[in-house]
Structure formats: structure tokens, C-alpha cells
């Protein structure tokens, strides 16, 4: 029997992996504890493969189930994306969490105390958070959306605090938690208003009710509009979009670099997908128009976010702060895609998320893979002359920063191009021009990030920068750099897949009526075919 639970298969696998990690994490055997990243990695691989091959295979009965979900096939893209980027994050984080305590246990300085180890918990929270991101994509009602968002963000608060033993990471965790709770309350209030205005939690029903109200009164219910606005603003916290962006710099700087890599992608992606679902279902009515208020709101947010992010990054000397501000700017670009709406805009957003997630993970993997006298590298200038000692790191940094900047022919360039094209196509020419100017401003500091490790003059104490003894971060860096160079070749495939992921349930159903079990080809029938 196919039930809606079928769609939850990847998430259930991730939950199982998390449970396994929780139990194994308190094991007294060091070998078992060291295996945790491997378990986490395999969990993600299995979840991704299951989603790819088994779950999202269209069939008549599945399509019938899927009608309750606004974008039932979105999960395919999101689960696989989360699994891939999550796997890279596993490489970046493996062996770097809880080093101090485990090293002390290994050296026999302290006896193992299950209450004091945090390695197992870290991986549990990691998996749960990624699972939350996967769940977000399947949301059919506000309750689900809320729970998925909270499942994504609650573990991150802990991960920030326990990622390294340092006063600053605890401060970061505290700030992140309190401001996050505040933001949750804000978007919940928005949800409450939305519910009050429509009397239903289901996203699809909300759209129907709102459409009826528009048909009756000629304009959207003000309570619903305000509710949507407040909800969007609350979710903006997850994206680190203005005006809820200030925490990002502090938290990213305070958290350990592997955790920051995680923060830069998972909560942001969850927020973006939540916005997509919320707005596509409630905002865009049949006439293809977003209410004027929401357009203004998103426009202002996008401009503020990218401008404040880029200008904030211009003057930073600390590399993590610089990257934090740059990630704020990227949220601004993503908002262009959201504003451009279902179809082209969302397609571009999905591709941009992949490009951004990979590049961001790669930049932070450089920081995670380097140590200077046991501490993380803090200033950009410390990386000067990195090429001479660790050429792979330096080139990987250049490629990933280039991709973030949007340097052709890297993946980031194509993703940005698609976003801007979608923006222009939806009539937001001014916004795209502002984004272009911002992009030019961002060249200033991205070029610094690219050039200083490659051609900078090493400082006298540069020799003290060492690689960490765990090869995971370097491995991820090489993989991602290669992917950023190679993936543009498959760009049209990616566009086709992203478009297929954004099909609405009714359209899917019509396709499936005559195509029986061969679901994979059913998707292909309506999407642009690829000739080579």
C-alpha cells in the first residue's frame, strides 16, 4: 500500500541512522566511536540513493497520493542535494569534532565517561538537521513546515555550542539559540494569522480559500497578507536575510569551521525551500501574480540583504566573518529567484542552492583543514603563500571562491546567470542590475580570497600553518573543486531535473495516466529533451 509515508522513506532512513549514532556514540570502544562519521555518511548515501531510485518514481497510485502536497516531486531534488552536500560536510567534519576529549581518552589522561563525550551527539544532531532539511521539501501544511524548520535549526544550536571547546563557540551558540527562538516565535505568529485568515493549515487549501476571497472581494485578505509577511520575515532568519542577518557574522565566526560550513548551507537551504513552498502555494494566485505587498517586501529584503552583506564583507580582515557576510549576500541573490516565482525563478534557485552549497562547503573545508598552533586560521592574511606549502588547498580555495563570485566557467557562474536571467524574465530588471553591481563589488573581496593564498607573500610565521592530520577536508575539497569545474557540462540536465522537481501534482497525474510503471520516462516526456 502506498501511503504518504512512502515519501518519508529517506527521512526515516536518516532517522534510523541518527538513532544508530546515538546508541553507538556512548560505546566504550574507541573504534566504534570513530566509525560514527562512516555511519553518518552511509546513511546519507542510502537515503539519497533510495530517493533517487525508489521513492520518487512516478506511478499512478503515487500521483494520487501526491495531490495533497503542493510540490510532491521537489523532495527528489532536495533529498539528493542534501545527501550530496551532506556527504561532503561529513568529510569536512569527520574527525574534527570532539578532538580534545577523544585525544585525552586515547592518551589515557582521562577515563572515558559516556556523559562527557559529545561525538555521538554531534553526529545525531547532524543527521537530524539534514533530515529536517529533507522534510521541509515535503511540507503540505503549516504544521509540517514548522516542525521541519525546527528540526533543522534546533540541532544546529547545539552543534555550534559543542563544535569546539571554546568560549566563543559557546557564546555563538547562545546568541544563535536566543535569536533563533525569537525568530521562530515571529514566523509562528505569522502562521497563526494565516490560519486565522483562512481557517485551514493545509497549504493547498489555503491557496483555494485565498483565491475564493480574492474572487469575492477583489483583494487578498489583509490578515493573510500580514501573516504571510510576518512569516516570510521570520523565515528570513534561517536564510540570514536582512533585517534578520546580524547574527550570522557572530555565529559563523564563533563556531568551529566545520560547523560553520554546515550552518552556511543546511538552515539556509531549509529556509529557502520553506519560503518557496509558502509563497508558491499561498502567494502566487492563478493570475501568476504575487500580491504587490509581498513583491515590495521581497524586493526590499533582497536589495538590503545583498548590499549589506557585500559591504559588510568588504572591510573584514577575519576570513570567517568575511565569508559569513558573503553568505548573507548570497541569500540576497537567492531572494531574486524566489521573487521571480515558480518556474524559471525556482529552477534557478534550486540550481543556485547546489552551486552555493558546494562552493561554500569547499571554502570552509580549507579553513577546517588548516591549523596554526592548534587553533583555527583567523585572518585572511594568514593564508598568504599557502600555495607554496599546500598547493591543493590554495587552488581549491581559489576555485571555490571563484565559484562563489560567479567566475566562468565554474558552476557558480551558471547558477548566477540563471538566477539573473530568471529575474530579468520576470520583469525585475532593476533588481538584477543592483545584483550585478553587487556582484561587481563582491569581486573585490573574492579576488582577495582567491589571490592571497595563491600569490600572496607569506608572512614570516607562515610556516606555522599546518594541515590537520585528518584527510577528510582535503578529500572533500578536491571532490568539490572537480565538481564545480565539471558540473556545468551537465547544466541542461540539471535544469531539466530541477524543472521536473517543480512539477505540480495535477500535471504529474495526467502524465502518469497512460505511462504505467515506466515513471522515469514519464517525467522526460514533458520536460525539455536533450539532444547532443
Amino acid at each position: 500500500m502506498i501511503d504518504r509515508l512512502w515519501f518519508l522513506m529517506p527521512e526515516l532512513i536518516v532517522l534510523g541512522g541518527a538513532v544508530l549514532c546515538a546508541i553507538l556514540g556512548v560505546s566504550r570502544k574507541v573504534g566504534v566511536r570513530n566509525l560514527l562519521p562512516v555511519f553518518a555518511g552511509w546513511t546519507l548515501i542510502i537515503a539519497g540513493v533510495v530517493a533517487w531510485l525508489f521513492v520518487y518514481v512516478p506511478s499512478t497510485e503515487l500521483a494520487a497520493v501526491a495531490t495533497e502536497v503542493p510540490l510532491p516531486w521537489l523532495g527528489r531534488w532536495v533529498v539528493i542535494m542534501s545527501a550530496v552536500v551532506g556527504l561532503m560536510l561529513v568529510f569536512v567534519q569527520a574527525g574534527l569534532v570532539d578532538r580534545v576529549y577523544e585525544a585525552a581518552v586515547a592518551a589515557g589522561r582521562v577515563a572515558f565517561d559516556p556523559l562527557r563525550t559529545t561525538r555521538g551527539e554531534y553526529w545525531v544532531f547532524f543527521l537530524l538537521s539534514v533530515g529536517g532539511l529533507m522534510l521541509t521539501s515535503g511540507a503540505s501544511d503549516l504544521v509540517w513546515l514548522f516542525l521541519a524548520l525546527e528540526l533543522t535549526s534546533l540541532p544546529t544550536y547545539v552543534m555550534v555550542a559543542i563544535g569546539r571547546v571554546d568560549r566563543r563557540s559557546q557564546e555563538a551558540g547562545m546568541k544563535y539559540f536566543f535569536l533563533g527562538a525569537l525568530a521562530s516565535a515571529v514566523f509562528l505568529y505569522g502562521f497563526a494569522m494565516l490560519y486565522g485568515a483562512t481557517g485551514t493549515m493545509s497549504l493547498v487549501d489555503i491557496r483555494t480559500v485565498l483565491a475564493e476571497q480574492v474572487a469575492e472581494t477583489g483583494s487578498m485578505n489583509p490578515l493573510a497578507t500580514i501573516g504571510l509577511m510576518v512569516a516570510v520575515l521570520g523565515i528570513a532568519f534561517k536564510l540570514a536575510a536582512a533585517p534578520l542577518h546580524l547574527y550570522a557574522a557572530d555565529v559563523y565566526e564563533g563556531a568551529a569551521a566545520p560547523v560553520t560550513a554546515f550552518l552556511g548551507f543546511v538552515p539556509k537551504a531549509a529556509g529557502v525551500i520553506a519560503l518557496m513552498l509558502l509563497l508558491s502555494v499561498t502567494g502566487w494566485q492563478e493570475d501568476g501574480q504575487l500580491p504587490q505587498v509581498l513583491v515590495i517586501l521581497l524586493w526590499v529584503m533582497a536589495v538590503l540583504t545583498m548590499t549589506l552583506g557585500n559591504i559588510g564583507a568588504l572591510l573584514q580582515t577575519r576570513i570567517k566573518r568575511m565569508l559569513a557576510y558573503s553568505s548573507i549576500a548570497h541569500s540576497g541573490y537567492l531572494l531574486i529567484g524566489i521573487l521571480a516565482g515558480p518556474g524559471a525563478g525556482y529552477t534557478a534557485v534550486l540550481i543556485y542552492l547546489v552551486a552555493y552549497g558546494l562552493s561554500n562547503t569547499a571554502t570552509f573545508s580549507v579553513l577546517a583543514g588548516l591549523r596554526r598552533s592548534g587553533q583555527e586560521v583567523e585572518f585572511l592574511d594568514d593564508l598568504a603563500g599557502l600555495r607554496e606549502r599546500h598547493p591543493i588547498m590554495a587552488w581549491g580555495m581559489a576555485i571555490s571562491a571563484g565559484s562563489l563570485l560567479g567566475f566562468p566557467p565554474l558552476l557558480g557562474f551558471w547558477a548566477k546567470l540563471l538566477l539573473f536571467m530568471a529575474g530579468i524574465a520576470s520583469g525585475q530588471l532593476v533588481l538584477v542590475i543592483i545584483a550585478g553591481v553587487n556582484s561587481a563589488i563582491s569581486a573585490w573581496y573574492y579576488l582577495k580570497i582567491m589571490a592571497i593564498p595563491l600569490v600572496g607573500t607569506p608572512k614570516s610565521d607562515a610556516a606555522s600553518i599546518e594541515r590537520v592530520d585528518v584527510p577528510g577536508a582535503r578529500f572533500a575539497l578536491v571532490l568539490i573543486s572537480g565538481a564545480l569545474l565539471v558540473m556545468p557540462v551537465a547544466l541542461s540536465d540539471m535544469i531539466a531535473d530541477a524543472e521536473a522537481a517543480l512539477r505540480e501534482p495535477d500535471k504529474m497525474q495526467t502524465v502518469d495516466e497512460d505511462s504505467g510503471h515506466a515513471g522515469g520516462s514519464a517525467i522526460k516526456q514533458e520536460q525539455p529533451s536533450l539532444q547532443s
Binding site: 551558540g173 539559540f177 527562538a181 525569537l182 516565535a185 497563526a192
Partner: protein, 109 residues
Amino acid sequence: MTMVATAMAGGSLAQYLIISGVLMSIGLAGFLTRRNLIVMFLCTELMFQGVVIAMVAFSRWHWEVSGQVFVIFILTVAAAEAALALALVVLLYRRRDTLDAEAWTELRE
């Protein structure tokens, strides 16, 4: 007491929303003005409860139960947040011997 019950049944939605808004505002004001971390956390809980009241009121108004289901989940998440906040507060207190939010301003420009 019957009069109160009548008020609940047929009472104005506005009253509940006002209560909800007041709770929300008190929570917000408290969050912004109090420095003790525990009190700040309690204030966010207050904001959550404001939402909860609004949800229940709307649920009753529409005669539709999903709002109340949402409330249960909000309460659960609030409990999870409480556990988290408790752990975090213990951690921070052990580090600095104070719960003053202002003591934690090392990360800044």
C-alpha cells in the same frame, strides 16, 4: 461560572487575539530589556504562548481542529527548546559564573 463558559463559547475573537498580542508584546519587551538569560528564555516561551492562544482562538472561531493540533506540536517544540535552553544556560553559567547576557560580547566587529 456558567457566564464565563458562555463567554468562551460565544465570546469575541478579538478578546483572545488581544490577549495573544499582549502576551507576545510582553514577551518581546521582556526579551529586549531583561538581561538574565533564563528570563530571556522565559520571555520567548511567553511569545510562544501568545501564538498558542491565537491558534486556539482561531481554531475555535473556524470550528476546525487543526489549529489545536498545531498547538500540541508547538508545546512539544517549546519543551525541546526548554531542555536545550537549560543545557545551554548550565554550560554558560559554568564558564562565566554569571547569566548576564551582557557578559557574552566577545564576538563583535
